[in-house]
């Protein structure tokens, strides 16, 4: 979608340009400032809505977030979640604190998952903390946090007409990397063509807002076993790309079922990489 940016001024690009080294000196230290307290209060508010009264413990070991400190494109911020103790992980929640719709994604892993690494691309509205909360099989919640500098991602227009953006909607591709060895996980990249309209994007010509239309549910299975289900949101970038680990069932396909918030529904089946021996 990047080439399309050349047609219409992108708020996200503006933000990226702004995020320049002109001011690359030390960012004003927050210290124990009001801002820190405000950001903490914000997270508490969101956590309460998403998790109720459940306690969330900080962790350095159960989940880690990798994201660029400064995103080049606020509408396409790459996020990597690493969960080294993968056998303990049941689910992961990803929250972009200062997005108006902060609860970006919820992944629940099934028996065919390898949750050690998960990548996705999101929209970021403003300089913000992002939180990843790992849910362990024993019911614990553990959070990691990272500050991301990006701005304007939720409202950044795609730089093409809505019709063009919706062309081929629901098409999918899946790529695998790593050698297939029976019973061992492989890394998969799922690419879905879908504009994932945020509902906050204005058509620069008509000045109308494109209604929200986003992938709200994704179910990936390997043979009879679930890899993961994802509850999505407008904060997931257009043309979603998700990297994940899975354990293929020899000879059985990997299926992806997606639905969107406007009733669209698509299913695709992919051949699992087969072990050579």
């Amino acid at each position: 979608m990047k080439s399309a940016l050349s047609l219409i001024l992108s708020a996200s690009l503006s933000a990226a340009i702004l995020a320049g080294p002109v001011l690359s000196g030390p960012v004003l230290a927050a210290g124990a400032s009001d801002t820190d307290a405000e950001r903490a209060a914000r997270w508490q508010e969101i956590a309460k809505l998403v998790f109720g009264d459940r306690k969330i413990a900080p962790t350095d070991s159960l989940i880690r977030i990798d994201a660029p400190n400064r995103a080049m494109d606020a509408a396409l911020v790459p996020i990597t979640l690493t969960m080294p103790e993968k056998d303990k992980i049941k689910a992961v929640h990803f929250v972009i604190d200062d997005n108006p719709s902060p609860y970006a994604a919820h992944f629940t892993f099934g028996p065919a998952a390898d949750p050690s690494e998960l990548k996705l691309r999101v929209r970021v509205n403003n300089y913000t903390n992002v939180h990843a909360v790992a849910e362990t099989k024993d019911g614990g919640l553990y959070e990691a946090v990272k500050f991301v500098k990006a701005s304007g991602g939720c409202s950044a227009p795609m730089g093409m007409s809505d019709e063009e953006a919706m062309k081929g909607m629901g098409d999918m591709r899946m790529k695998f990397s790593g050698e297939a060895v029976a019973g061992k996980p492989v890394e998969a990249t799922l690419m879905i063509r879908h504009p994932n309209f945020s509902g906050m994007q204005m058509n620069q010509v008509t000045r109308d807002y494109t209604p929200a239309r986003y992938i709200n549910k994704l179910v990936v299975t390997a043979g009879d076993k679930t890899v993961f289900t994802m509850d999505g949101d407008i904060s997931i970038a257009s043309n979603p790309v998700i990297n994940f680990g899975l354990i293929p069932e020899p000879g059985k396909p990997i299926k992806v079922a997606a639905t969107d918030s406007q009733g669209g529904s698509w299913e695709h089946s992919f051949n699992a990489p087969s072990p050579s021996n």
């Binding site: 001024l9 708020a11 503006s14 080294p21 200062d98 409202s155 509902g199 209604p211 709200n216």
Partner: protein, 198 residues
């Protein structure tokens, strides 16, 4: 316009590639956007002029230097728009982050603007400056946003003599300083918003 814009974007891309650095703020546009005679009545997002007659254009350094004078900071950025079909069961928690202490009057830089709203904007500024036409005022929104240019223009026309326009806006500020969650000016929020204004 598309040609001009792509030209600029290419230039930016080249700068990125060449220097491994990011280019300067968007207000430093490669095209000379002329000042309109009156207010800018087109789409708010787009290249803006480098100047605003009767006002001082400030970058972050100049704004920092101005801050000890406690200028009236007027943020006219649009509020996050809740999608009409946003599911009721998902959290919707818009929080507008801005320059700490700013008075936020969303979309007060629109043109044309409902005369009632325009009048209210001017009344609010009058109240907030205590009627002192020489009090420093800073208008801003986001980069490449005509709203703050229009707001500044309105104040210049109204006879304010220390109007400053900060085109880098909230992004320019947050690149160097912390922001604060700012609530909409209560007077501004109290008035009904005409349909189509958002």
């Amino acid at each position: 316009m598309p040609a001009r814009r792509s030209h600029r974007l290419i230039r930016v891309g080249t700068a990125l590639a060449a220097a491994g650095l990011l280019a300067a703020a968007p207000a430093d546009s490669p095209v000379n956007v002329p000042e309109p005679a009156g207010l800018h009545e087109g789409v708010q997002q787009g290249y803006t002029p480098k100047t605003l007659s009767g006002a001082v254009v400030v970058d972050i350094a100049a704004l920092d230097a101005l801050m000890p004078k406690q200028p009236l900071l007027i943020d006219v950025a649009l509020a996050d728009r809740k999608p009409a079909n946003f599911p009721a069961d998902r959290p919707w928690l818009p929080a507008h982050r801005s320059v700490p202490g700013a008075v936020w009057m969303p979309n007060a830089g629109a043109a044309p603007l409902d005369p009632v709203r325009e009048d209210l904007f001017l009344k609010r500024v009058e109240a907030l400056t205590g009627g002192d036409k020489a009090k420093p005022i800073v208008t801003f929104c986001h980069p490449d946003c005509w709203g703050s240019w229009n707001a500044g223009k309105r104040l210049v026309r109204q006879g304010y003599t220390a109007v400053h326009w900060f085109p880098d806006g909230i992004e320019g500020w947050q690149d160097k300083h912390e922001t604060a969650v700012v609530r909409e000016d209560p007077e501004w929020a109290r008035k009904p918003v005409s349909a189509g204004e958002r």
